[in-house]
């Protein structure tokens, strides 16, 4: 008797090498794969849980400073290099891959108030409490040479901040006024003032590089135009703004870190209402830095935590804290948008992952596909109560937690009071002012 066999072509199922993936024949008939929504929901739930399981953002702590870290700066060309200035006038240069300090300079007497690198990465500038601006070489002195600044400029007043132009050999300092300096000269080529209070920080716009923003202790934020050598506009907020940071992808957007625990994102063309108020901190926000993708920013606060906000959300997506981290004074987002550094009172610089549960290192294509799929699932089902609860859950130190509760109560009380006032007064006599409008005291032309 003859037996007939089904014949198959081995080419269709035999792998060429052992490392190849097995080809899986698929049938996409929807009747064979029922319950797609419940199955994807379960997958999303699992992905969310795994995200929380793997959320371990803290990478390293760089210690060595002998006083609180007052300022940080990124190297424009090298991802591994970070500069930091401390409250005792010491400047350190760190190597992030080795997690070691590679150079140490006693730059100033008193605080190092500001530090910035030149756009080419060959030198950097510091300003300090000793009324000097100093330019330093990025590379250390060769053997036998003394550690000396390239240039030193003696000023009449204390400089509180410094920022370098993104393309040209120009830098700006702030103090009593905003000064714009040519690197080659010892006197400012232009000084701009508006009002008489001390200015705490000045920042160049990274896209339209002739624009500057500064914030002063009389609660205002002032914008300057370097080309026309004139201030442009001033906005006065409820409380003092500590720093501002420009969005590196959107030329007219900047975010201000305010003393009233909030951050305000402004469109510089319409300063009368902020685009977004970002609130989650429970103490003054001291520093803010944008991610180079322009989609998120990180803020450092006096409440001993740093938070990451998406630009278009008013609530933070992440909060980082450790037991030992004290008031965070400065924060920077690295240029590859993967890490965050923060310098705090207790003399340490900490390195964090920007995406808490991200796996570091090279991913295989399957891993990548899986993470992408999980990410998309989480997004798709983010409004479902279980998933929302899990993804929002964070452990907070008791102080912050109780502060949040307290502030929630306060906020509710204020709201209630306002409602009552409206209710018990003549209709129309008390207008409701939106939260955004309320925070802006005035815009001065």
């Amino acid at each position: 008797m003859k037996v007939k066999m089904l014949s198959r072509n081995p080419d269709s199922y035999v792998r060429e090498t052992k490392l190849d993936l097995q080809r899986v024949p698929r049938n996409y008939d929807p009747t064979l794969h029922p319950f797609e929504v419940p199955r994807e929901y379960v997958r999303a739930l699992n992905a969310t849980k795994l995200e929380r399981v793997f959320a371990k953002p803290f990478l390293a702590s760089l210690d060595g400073h002998r006083d609180g870290v007052s300022c940080l700066a990124k190297h424009p060309k090298s991802l591994a290099t970070v500069l930091s200035g401390a409250c005792d006038g010491e400047v350190r240069i760190w190597n992030l891959t080795k997690r070691k300090c590679i150079r140490m300079i006693q730059a100033h007497e008193g605080f190092v108030r500001g530090i910035c690198t030149r756009f080419c990465g060959t030198s950097f500038f510091t300003v300090g409490d000793d009324k000097t601006v100093k330019q330093w070489k990025m590379d250390g002195p060769s053997y036998g040479e003394e550690e000396e600044p390239l240039h030193t400029i003696l000023g009449k007043t204390v400089y509180t901040g410094i920022d370098h132009h993104w393309k040209e050999a120009v830098f700006a300092t702030c103090g009593q006024q905003v000064d714009i300096w040519d690197e080659q000269r010892t006197s400012p080529i232009c000084s701009m003032t508006w009002g008489f209070d001390s200015i705490s920080s000045v920042k160049f716009n990274p896209i339209e590089t002739f624009l500057l923003g500064s914030c002063a202790s009389d609660r205002n934020i002032v914008l300057y135009d370097m080309r026309q050598a004139t201030p442009l506009k001033k906005v006065i907020l409820d409380m003092r703004t500590n720093t501002i940071c420009w969005n590196p992808m959107e030329a007219f957007i900047f975010t201000a870190a305010n003393e009233d625990y909030n951050l305000y994102t402004f469109d510089m063309r319409a300063l009368d209402t902020p685009v977004m108020i970002h609130m989650d901190h429970v103490s003054a926000v001291l520093d803010v830095d944008y991610s180079p993708t322009g989609k998120d920013f990180v803020s450092a606060s006096f409440d001993k935590s740093i938070r990451i906000f998406p630009v278009d959300r008013s609530r933070s997506r992440e909060v980082y804290h450790t037991k030992r981290m004290q008031h965070v004074i400065c924060v920077k987002w690295t240029s590859d948008s993967k890490y965050i550094m923060c310098g705090s009172d207790e003399m340490n610089i900490r390195l964090w992952k920007a995406n808490a549960s991200e796996k570091l290192g090279v991913l295989t294509s399957r891993e990548k596909a899986a993470t992408d799929y999980n990410q998309r699932l989480k997004e798709k089902f983010q409004h479902h109560p279980h998933i929302k609860r899990i993804s929002r859950h964070r452990h907070l130190p008791k102080s912050i937690y109780s502060q949040i509760q307290e502030q929630r109560i306060m906020k509710e009380a204020r709201r209630r009071k306002e409602l009552n006032r409206i209710k018990h007064s003549k209709p129309g006599s008390v207008q409701r002012v939106s939260e955004k409008k309320k925070r802006v005291v005035a815009v001065v032309k």
Partner: protein, 771 residues
């Protein structure tokens, strides 16, 4: 002092003069009084003021007076006059002179111009400066609006933004800037030059250029058409060859081969006539094949397979046949090639038996069993006849029956082609054709049958009888030979098997069909009668079988195969199955009856209906009865509130929305909310969505690879932001998005003059200040 006094007096004189002029210009006031007293004049003024209050006489009247009381040493008092003293008037009395005229002219010019306003306050100026600068800057910034918008809405952003854009340059440009340096390069260049390969522009060899020039457009078109045709033909032939190659039937290939051999022989014959020398060569080839065969033991029935078959041969008809076939092949190959004269004789003899060499369209069966040696052939057929008497009757009957019409239709077609075609047809028909031997056109067949006609007719009669015999006997017989038949169908073995082969389908088929019917009957009741009827019809008119739709054929074929594979179950079933169709139907009915009896107790449908009714009742909103027995009437045991009262206090429940399963008789939809599911459900419509359907749709579209193809899966799970590890992401630049970045330095203005403004700037400033 004296001189200054003199000047004063002169001035006073002048003034007087002018004052004297005034009355001429202005009408006199009504109260013209020369009275010197001051009080009087004041009184007058008051009166005037009062009189002007009524609004009629608002005209301020000039007062005429002598030299004023207050004489200022700085200016001429003009108190009392309604007009200012003009400088040019002072010059009037003096005689006109040329020099003075010029001065007057100048003065007039000055007068015509407006007075210069006071300069603005410094802060005000700064404010204006700022505003202008702000407007300008906002304008500059607004060019980023589309970019920002695009980036915010982008499906995916890949950082770093600036890519190393590949520049497209024509190859000539690249090559022209490059010279051969190394010896290898030079060698290659030399070679290229020798072949006249173009190195630089234009990239055509001289040959190509010439050909381009040579061919006209029409020629090119023609040539192209030709090529196209050739290609089409080629592809057609290729497709055909592939198709034919795919055919698994061994018989078909055998026939094909034989056809080819025959063709070769024919050609050989022709060649012999035309070109004897070439023919000799061909002959030698054949001779060589013969020699090879003589040398080898290939077809000698001495191999392992042959030995195993030899053991079986005693009992197995098929094995015997296979062995004989082998031997026949051996003999065929070993046969000496006839000379020309012999072949002629052969032809005469062959006609009786079905000569293989003759391109015989009519006598197809013998052709297929092509054996060059007639002796061999005869011998062989005799063997088979001895072996199986039963098979023979159909042997010639069926093929002939099928060939006959074809040969008439397609006379001019080559014999081999016909053969192949016929075979194909038969192949397709085999599975479904309900041919009966009786119905076959016996006449034509008889005409062709030459030698064994009588025997055949006898046998045919016998087989007919067999066919009409009782089912059981036939069934038994068939079930025993079934498997054998099935295999035979796959293996077209020589001429002797032909009858079996051709006969088998119908028999086996009828059986198979019945079995199939028996099987299918359980599942599909409707199928049964239809197929049965069909079968009957086919039995009645066998010529109809061609019209049966192809799908049917295929289906039956599949079932056939299944039957072949599962030999056991059909044999078991066959006891019950092969009654007539009516019987089968009866059986079906019986089965139903049986099922009914078995499940007599539980009437599922009624239960279901009842359940549904209950569910509907339960879901209906209930009326609320608020009657209080005993209120307003007698109460007690056995007393019920009156119907009127009850009607009055009955709160009718509003009718709810219609049930969703109202129009679905076989379904109960539970409309109650599931508490356990609620915890997993979204309560509020999330922000970006405007309608709940929108949201539901996004949730219901699966994105996993289980439901999507690989490509769409990748597209669906594309991450929003992609960054490369270890790459520095720079702030967006004007060049990145295709804008021209400003060439001038940010410093240029500052360095020239911090406070200087351009003319346009000034104009703008002015405009703003006017506003």
């Amino acid at each position: 002092m004296s001189s200054s006094r003199a000047a004063e007096s002169l001035l006073a004189l002048n003034q007087q003069e002018e004052l004297e002029d005034l009355p001429r210009e202005y009408p006199l006031s009504t109260s013209e009084d020369e009275g010197d007293s001051d009080g009087e004049r004041k009184h007058q003024k008051l009166l005037e003021a009062i009189s002007s209050l009524d609004g009629k006489n608002r005209w301020k009247l000039a007062e005429r007076s002598e030299a004023s009381l207050k004489v200022s040493e700085f200016s001429v008092s003009s108190e009392g006059s309604g007009e200012k003293l003009v400088l040019s008037d002072l010059l009037e009395p003096v005689k006109t002179s040329s020099s003075l005229a010029a001065v007057k002219k100048q003065l007039n010019r000055v007068k015509s111009k407006k007075t210069v306003e006071l300069p603005l306050h410094r802060e005000e100026i700064e404010r204006i400066h700022r505003e202008v600068a702000f407007n300008k800057t906002s304008q500059v910034l607004s060019k980023w609006d589309p970019v920002v918008q695009k980036n915010r809405q982008a499906e995916q952003l890949v950082f770093p933004l600036s890519k190393q854009q590949s520049i497209f340059a024509p190859i000539e440009h690249v090559v022209s800037g490059w010279k051969a340096r190394t010896p290898l390069e030079q060698e290659i260049f030399n070679l290229l030059h020798k072949n006249k390969q173009p190195v630089t522009d234009p990239l055509l060899t001289p040959m190509e250029k010439a050909s381009l020039k040579a061919m006209s457009l029409e020629e090119v078109k023609m040539r192209r058409a030709e090529l196209q045709r050739a290609r089409a033909l080629q592809s057609y032939y290729e497709a055909r060859a592939r198709r034919e190659k795919k055919i698994k039937s061994k018989k078909y290939h055998k026939l094909l081969k034989k056809g080819k051999a025959k063709q070769a022989l024919k050609e050989f014959e022709k060649l012999r006539k035309v070109n004897p020398a070439a023919a000799l060569e061909e002959l030698e080839k054949l001779e060589k094949a013969r020699m090879m065969e003589r040398m080898s033991l290939k077809h000698q029935n001495s191999g392992k397979w042959a030995k195993s078959k030899a053991v079986m041969a005693k009992y197995d008809l098929e094995a015997r046949q296979a062995m004989q076939e082998q031997l026949a092949r051996n003999k065929e190959l070993m046969q000496k090639i006839q000379a020309a004269s012999e072949s002629a004789e052969e032809e005469g003899g062959a006609e009786e038996e079905g000569e293989p060499f003759v391109p015989d369209v009519v006598n197809e069966v013998q052709v297929k069993a092509d054996t060059p040696n007639p002796w061999m052939f005869r011998n062989h057929s005799g063997d088979t006849k001895e072996a199986e008497v039963q098979g023979d009757p159909e042997e010639l009957a069926e093929p002939a029956a099928q060939e006959a019409p074809e040969s008439e239709e397609e006379g001019p077609v080559v014999a081999e082609e016909i053969l192949l075609k016929e075979f194909k047809e038969r192949r397709s028909l085999r599975q479904k054709s309900r041919l009966n031997q009786i119905a076959k056109p016996v006449g034509s067949q008889e005409a062709k049958d030459l030698s064994s006609q009588e025997v055949l007719s006898e046998l045919r009669a016998l087989s007919q009888k067999l066919n009409r015999e009782s089912h059981q006997s036939r069934k038994q017989e068939l079930s025993s030979t079934r498997t054998v038949l099935a295999v035979q169908r796959e293996e077209p073995a020589g001429e002797e098997e032909e009858p079996l082969l051709l006969q088998r389908p119908e028999r086996a088929r009828t059986l198979d069909e019945l079995e199939e019917l028996g099987k299918e009957g359980c599942f599909q009741n409707k199928e049964l009668p239809r197929v049965a009827v069909e079968g009957q019809q086919l039995e009645r008119n066998p010529s109809n079988h061609l019209g049966v739709p192809k799908e049917k054929k295929r289906k039956e074929q599949m079932i056939d195969l299944q039957n072949l594979l599962t030999t056991k179950s059909p044999s078991m079933k066959s006891l019950a199955v092969p009654t007539t169709v009516e019987e089968l139907e009866d059986e079906e009915r019986d089965q139903r009856q049986m099922i009914k009896e078995a499940f007599a107790g539980d009437d599922v449908i009624r239960d279901f209906l009842k359940e549904k009714r209950e569910a509907v009742e339960a879901s209906k909103p209930k009326d609320v009865d608020l009657t209080l027995p005993g209120w307003g009437e007698w109460g007690g045991v056995g007393l019920k509130p009156s119907a009127k009262k009850r009607r009055r206090f009955l709160v009718k429940a509003p009718e709810g929305p219609p049930r969703k399963d109202k129009n679905l008789p076989n379904v109960i939809l539970n409309e109650k909310r599931n508490i356990h599911a609620v915890a997993h459900q979204v309560r509020m419509l999330p922000y970006p969505f405007t309608h709940h359907q929108q949201f539901e749709r996004t949730i219901q579209t699966p994105i996993g690879s289980t439901w999507n193809t690989q490509r769409s899966f990748q597209k669906l799970t594309m991450p929003k932001v992609v960054t490369k590890p270890g790459h520095i992401i720079k702030p967006i630049k004007a060049e990145d998005v295709g804008y021209r970045s400003s060439s001038r330095s940010d410093l240029s203005v500052v360095q020239r003059n911090p406070k200087r403004l351009s003319i346009r700037h000034k104009k703008q400033l002015k405009k703003i200040s006017v506003d």
